[in-house]
């Protein structure tokens, strides 16, 4: 009896897929990418494999997938096929002056999605979403966008696709996290004003104070919700506060905090605060994270690392941070991965409407390739720009690997993905061919 129930439950999603595909089969396009080496990023590599796309989803992946007669066949013989690249930390599509609010070090209410501009070049274009060709040329199909690191609590980040039929369809997760920064970046920015906080002590104290405020707020809201309807009618709801509302999501572990920090002691501060308030933590940048590898592994704290070729994503230039230079190690990613820490390699790049162009993210695969020169195994390097960031960003049910049921975000490359001379030839997002290399 039990078993039958379970079987039934397990078959539900398949039934759902079947029904949906039956209903939609008239309108849905079927594409079969055939003959390439398929790096599924779900544990196996399939030489001479087939990726079958139906509508906007992947229907099947394997070497003996039956290709329906109506399918458009894309020949990928001699090529590599893998999921779209995911850049787990960018300022992509946001005007630089929209990144930070210099008047206030704590703005958890701010949402970066409201500064996201996916409409091509300012005052140009044909209308609708205009994907950035530069970033698509690197095979990047999903990005995390964040408020800047010049505040202590900058606001709420979002996970978006780099193209889609309309604005709402771009959004995979929002809010995806609360973005914070401790250590040198906020210090450099805040130190210029005469207002607190200007020291590490005061920055940490400010985060704690904000979280205690949010705890208090959350308690009073929940207490009100728990009241009988009779009483609710008599007394008004405690006033809403958008900042505390956002931080409450963090405290209730609905979303994690992304805390940008580099020096070992800043990392320890981040971990300390996360434990005090029992929220999920993701380390951003983490140049010296390898020094805490066992702790991070044990506590299952992932790290979104910056590009090896430009490690100083947060702390200005190396000449101003010699202490960082003394302890950093280019094998950071490799050491962390070996210790069992989930890592992503991200660009921390920007790009807005033709200004600056989204061009750091487009070389993310090359950054992964560079990391293999510093002991990171190829498999880990590829995971660090696909399935790992998908999991860290909480969108692995949709993207990050080639598996049936996931979004059909697929790229075809003309060679091994981690070679410097390899180019992305085709990019599919939601099953649509959105980029072809000239």
């Amino acid at each position: 009896m039990n078993k039958r129930n379970e079987l039934f439950r397990m078959s539900l999603p398949f039934l759902a897929v079947l029904i949906v595909s039956l209903v939609c089969s008239g309108a849905e396009k079927t594409v079969a990418i055939k003959g390439g080496t398929v790096l599924t990023m779900a544990g196996k590599t399939i030489p001479n494999g087939i990726v079958l796309i139906k509508g906007d989803k992947i229907q099947a992946v394997g070497d003996d997938v039956r290709i329906p007669a109506e399918a458009v066949v894309v020949d990928a013989a001699g090529k590599y096929v893998m999921p779209g690249i995911i850049d787990a930390m960018t300022y992509f599509g946001v005007r630089p002056f929209d990144l930070n609010d210099p008047s206030n070090p704590v703005t958890p209410q701010n949402r970066i999605i409201q500064a996201y501009y996916p409409f091509g070049q300012f005052m140009k274009g044909q209308g609708g979403i205009e994907p950035d060709k530069e970033i698509l040329s690197g095979g990047v199909t999903t990005v995390y966008i964040a408020p800047g690191d010049r505040q202590v609590i900058g606001g709420q980040g979002a996970v978006v696709k780099t193209c889609g039929p309309n604005f709402d369809r771009l959004i995979l997760r929002e809010p995806a996290s609360i973005d914070m920064a401790i250590g040198d970046p906020p210090k450099a920015a805040l130190g210029e004003s005469a207002k607190s906080p200007v020291t590490r002590m005061s920055i940490a104290a400010l985060i704690r104070k904000s979280l205690i405020d949010a705890q208090e707020y959350d308690r009073s809201q929940k207490a009100y919700d728990a009241k009988p309807e009779e009483e609710k009618k008599k007394s008004p709801r405690p006033p809403r506060d958008l900042g505390n509302e956002a931080l409450a999501k963090l405290l209730n572990r609905e979303i994690p905090a992304r805390i940008e920090s580099d020096l070992p002691d800043d990392l320890r501060t981040a971990i300390r605060i996360a434990e005090e308030f029992n929220f999920n933590l993701v380390i951003d940048s983490g140049l010296t994270a390898y020094l805490l590898k066992d702790e991070l592994a044990k506590k299952k704290i992932p790290a979104v690392l910056g590009p090896t070729s430009h490690p100083f994503v947060s702390g200005g230039e190396v000449s101003s941070t010699p202490e960082l230079l003394r302890v950093m190690d280019e094998r950071n990613a490799a050491i962390l991965a070996k210790a069992g820490v989930k890592i992503a390699i991200a660009s921390f790049g920007f790009g807005f409407g033709g200004f600056g162009d989204a061009v750091q993210g487009k070389w993310l695969l090359l950054e992964a390739g560079l990391a293999t020169g510093f002991d990171l195994p190829d498999e880990e390097a590829l995971k660090a720009v696909t399935i790992n960031p998908a999991q860290i960003l909480g969108v692995a049910d949709r993207v990050g690997s080639l598996e049936p049921g996931k979004d059909a975000d697929v790229i075809i490359l003309d060679g091994y993905p981690l070679n410097v001379k390899t180019w992305v030839e085709k990019v599919f997002v939601n099953g649509e061919l959105v980029f072809t290399k000239e």
């Binding site: 430009h310 490690p311 660009s347 920007f350 070389w363």
Partner: protein, 399 residues
């Protein structure tokens, strides 16, 4: 007691080994690097090559050379050797606040050496990336920023480490302000008058007072005489054309620095034999696809190009990445290697000492664990003047 004796015995053995080690350390006695694939940069690659190093110089290189008896043999088979890399546009060794003398727009007398921070940890980092020789100097905040220094990234003996104490004059043109170029031209005219005044004095009977020395104009006279070159910071094609006209007028040696849009006027640049120090093409710098192809266009037009990191814009150690990225965007492998070795050496007029693996040149060598053309290859060892300046096996202490 027995244990103690054993320990002292070991100690003596250790000291003996140590002294042998010291005696045989490169630089003091001839040694050979044997078995690697060598890319001399000025000629085709040599498989299974032997390089003989004597007194810090390359004494011989080839597939089969005579090895003097007593030479230490270092087996580097399976490795790849390229010349010590050269970056002729860097700001390494400067505190940020020392780069630009902003209140003084014309300052050719300013010398990089006087601001150099030799204890910066950046020097050792550069060595780790195989970068051995730098032209490092003032920023681009002034019209004439001052004189750069040409220096190696490693070496206790400064007289050997510094290739050129001063000389090359950094200038900057930016389309921001029409007066900029006129300020440079006025100064060059003044330098020419100064030069002629001195020439008249030297040719005369020298009975009257010599003309008063002006250190800034002295530097520019060297430029006018072709003994030194002008390093001109430029991004826009029209600014570069303007500066080419200035070169036509005064006849100085010139390299463009950054050369962002140089590819748009590649023929004009090639025709005048002007070198281009090209944008740092590492992943950090936001360049679009058109710009990324610029280096290949310049190379095809016959312009001598050199890569730069513009440290600290990108870290010095990633110079090799510039070559890899240029190759991705169409530059030939041969041209890419030259653009970080012999080309910068020639542009900086130091090719008699560095820039290639040839007999008589400084033994500046980079040993990699795989093809230099690949992302995953790493620098294993770096020799500077025949001294082992970096050894990965010894440097890596972390887990």
């Amino acid at each position: 007691m027995k244990t103690h004796r054993l320990t002292s015995g070991r100690m003596i053995l250790f000291l003996l080994l140590l002294s042998v080690g010291l005696w045989s350390s490169p630089g003091s006695r001839p040694f050979i690097l044997k078995g690697a694939v060598v890319y001399p940069a000025t000629g085709p690659k040599i498989e299974n090559a032997t390089i003989l190093i004597e007194n810090g110089k390359i004494a011989a290189v080839g597939p089969g050379i005579n090895i003097p008896s007593g030479a230490q043999v270092i087996d580097v088979s399976g490795k790849v050797i390229i010349p010590g890399l050269i970056d002729i546009h860097s700001h390494l060794g400067f505190f940020d606040a020392d780069l630009n003398e902003f209140p003084q727009p014309i300052g050719p007398e300013n010398r990089a050496l006087d601001a150099l921070y030799l204890d910066s940890p950046d020097w050792a980092e550069a060595v780790k990336g195989g970068v051995v020789t730098l032209v490092t100097g003032p920023g681009s905040g002034e019209r004439i920023g001052g004189q750069s220094i040409t220096i190696k990234t490693f070496g206790a003996d400064l007289t050997r480490r510094i290739l050129k104490e001063a000389g090359e004059v950094k200038m900057a043109v930016n389309a921001r302000n029409l007066s900029h170029i006129q300020a440079i031209r006025t100064t060059l005219l003044k330098a020419r008058e100064y030069m002629e005044t001195w020439e008249r004095y030297e040719a005369g009977d020298k009975k009257e007072q010599p003309p008063k020395r002006d250190l800034g104009l002295d530097a520019l006279v060297k430029v006018l005489k072709g003994e030194e070159r002008v390093r001109c910071h430029a991004h826009f094609a029209n600014d570069m054309l303007t500066f080419l006209k200035l070169k036509d007028e005064f006849g100085f040696g010139l390299t463009f620095e950054h050369s962002t849009e140089a590819f748009k006027i590649a023929d004009e640049i090639a025709k005048r034999g002007v070198g281009c120090v090209c944008l740092p093409l590492v992943m950090r710098i936001p360049l679009n696809e058109d710009l990324m192809r610029g280096n290949a266009i310049l190379g095809e037009a016959g312009v001598k190009i050199a890569f730069h990191t513009d440290h600290p814009v990108t870290q010095e150690k990633w110079l090799r990445l510039c070559a890899l990225m240029s190759m991705r965007y169409g530059l030939s492998e041969e041209a890419a290697l030259k653009a970080m070795t012999i080309n910068p050496a020639e542009l900086a007029m130091i090719s008699h000492r560095v820039g290639s693996i040839e007999k008589g040149k400084d033994a500046d060598l980079v040993v990699l664990n795989g093809p230099w053309q690949e992302l995953r290859s790493r620098v294993d060892r770096v020799y500077v003047d025949g001294v082992l300046a970096y050894d990965r096996a010894k440097e890596e202490i972390h887990p």
